[in-house]
Amino acid sequence: MAEEARLWLERIRALPLRRRVRLMNVCGGHERSITMAGLRAALPRDVELIPGPGCPVCICPEEDVYEAIQVALHEDVTLVAFGDMLRVPVNVPRGEARSLEQAKAAGADIRPIASPQEAAAIASSNPGRRVVFFAAGFETTMAPVASLLVQGAPENLLMLLSGRLTWPAVAMLLDSGTPGFDGLIAPGHVATVMGPEEWQFVVDRHGLPAAIAGFTPASLLAAMYSTLRQLLDGRRFLDNCYPEVVRPGGNPTARRHLAEAMEVVDAAWRGIGVIPASGYALRPALAARDARRVFPSYADASRKRAGEMPPGCDCAKVVLGRIYPNECRLYGKACTPRTPVGPCMVSDEGACRIWWSGGVRDNPAA
């Protein structure tokens, strides 16, 4: 693999780039591989790699996390969520639980899980309790959640869904007129599930090169080479640099399950706002499982900074690729993985967390 990566790197270095080119990735997994393999330093100076909207935990609405905390405070409720979600902070007055972790410390029954099947198992072994699965994630996570519901889950398992689709965020950036990138590295596992065709609009509607990448340095570098080469040659197409698992049409069973259990709705992204047709909601047939219908709404317009990032946190700009993580004034100062201020430092897929783990310590903004 190392050999293959080196070959791609040589090919990229041989390209006659004459101006700065910005490539955006939209997957926390990609950003992790890029950072850990040190690809930024290895690439020519003129190639900029920008981490974009690739972290579902980071953009999970603040209101949804707040709602999950309130639901978890019910006596008869066990709340389960992917581990990353437990430390995501909400904006509440001093003395109230600021995260699921704090609610747990205050006595709420909250359990981290790693798989939807664990949620079902916990519901099965606690028939007397309502088990609420607070599920945030992109298509790669929502398809397994949908599969679980289609296959059949215990009746006492309720869903608090915060699922999002990745491509609409990229479409929003492109429609904004200032996308901030010249080519797109599209997410390999999202395309594995949904099919590569979803990303064709980047080429057709916006005239930008795009390539789907896997998670090894070789696959990522191949995708970078493809987009750079397309820019130089004046050609545009959607390249598939992860054909091992990305097939035309994606995974048909997974898509069938998604369509059966969920519908696509307009949805809020934390710190960013509503993006049309970018979220998943349970279909009406599953209303009895929908925590949003079963529990009262905890939306409170008077709650200060509802929906926003924590004060001083630039996560929204980081997620949109407007700034690099270390351009936030708090990066590495008030905000580190030990004392995270915002969700981008909490989540394993957050760019701030990834850059810190990758050893980026300088902060030009501080």
Binding site: G29, S33, M36, G83, P144, V245, R247, S357, G359
Partner: protein, 76 residues
């Protein structure tokens, strides 16, 4: 949590499979792979306990190399 992990299938029982990666064994759901037969010895890309797609052994191996790199850096 979005990290896909390649695993080797050891045993298949209906929609469930016992899979292995780097000496760690896990129960994996094959419910999303109904359009493709999965057999012991196959490799699958697993995400949150569900197999997303089949893959070749070679691709699985190069992905594992990448994860070794990440695990080494994760606690930095």
């Amino acid at each position: 949590m979005c990290l896909g992990i390649p695993m080797k299938v050891l045993e298949v029982d209906g929609f469930n499979a016992r899979c292995e990666a780097k000496g760690i064994e896990r129960e994996v759901s094959l419910f999303m792979l109904q359009d493709e037969p999965v057999e012991p010895g196959d490799h699958v890309m697993v995400h949150v306990g569900y197999a997303l797609q089949k893959m070749t052994e070679e691709e699985a191996r190069s992905a594992w190399e990448m994860y070794d790199l990440m695990l080494a850096a994760a606690d930095a």
